[in-house]
Symmetry: C2
Subunit: 141 residues, 2 copies
């Protein structure tokens, strides 16, 4: 009853993710980051309005206390500042500092270069994007 094709896809997806994380952990450590803080940094796009804690927690699939902890790490490192959303003064937003933007760029660059997907050709990447985005859309909550 278990589909071998489904199993191999899920396993490959898992494997690719773990392999990237493995390759990246040392360089991140040298930048003073952990995997958790790096992912949080990645989730804050400087070209978009700064996300609230709630939005950020959703993107990272973690809960509020956990996110508070991770954002504190980033604040302690001078990469992020907390602000208040003027439209809803309950909400705190995460804003990248100058060093934060710089560090985020290095992190994204590292993650992409170390990913096994980095060795794909343009044609493969177009193909993969199309397939994976479709799967994501279909499973949207």
């Amino acid at each position: 009853m278990t589909d071998p094709l489904l199993e191999s896809v899920v396993r490959a997806n898992h494997e690719l993710f773990m392999r990237t994380g493995d390759r990246v952990s040392r360089p991140l450590e040298e930048m003073g980051l952990t995997l958790a803080t790096a992912q949080a940094l990645w989730a804050i796009d400087p070209d978009r309005p700064p996300p609230s804690m709630k939005v950020l927690a959703g993107r990272l699939y973690c809960n509020a206390p956990n996110l508070s902890f991770v954002v504190n790490q980033l604040v302690d490192r001078g990469l992020v500042e907390r602000g208040t959303d003027p439209a809803d003064r309950r909400a705190r937003v995460a804003v990248l500092t100058g060093r934060g933007r710089e560090m985020r760029e290095r992190v994204v660059d590292l993650l992409l270069r170390q990913s096994p997907f980095a060795e794909c050709g343009a044609e493969e990447l177009r193909h993969l994007t199309e397939l994976l985005e479709r799967v994501l859309d279909r499973s949207a909550d």
Copy 2:
């Protein structure tokens, strides 16, 4: 210099993995498992010779002390037993118990059913398998 296609593929890979983990954590908890123990269980294929600690650590991208810890959890739950490899008596192997085999089957079934890939058709799955396996092979260490 950052390829938007590469970025979307890496992001999708990350997203699909995290979404599966998120959906699966509650049911696993009800089975008395965590994500770490479930992945370890998945990594022990009962139809193949029982893996040594070293092999298992490689599959899970963790180091030896960490694997010892996780295997202890499985032993405490009666799902795994430690054995000694007769060919090299330094090496310990992880062997599934009867309950372990049963639990592993439930875990794999859960992971596959909850994965966003579960909604793919056979054609998509064939396509994805081919692409992802190629990427994996190319980045083999």
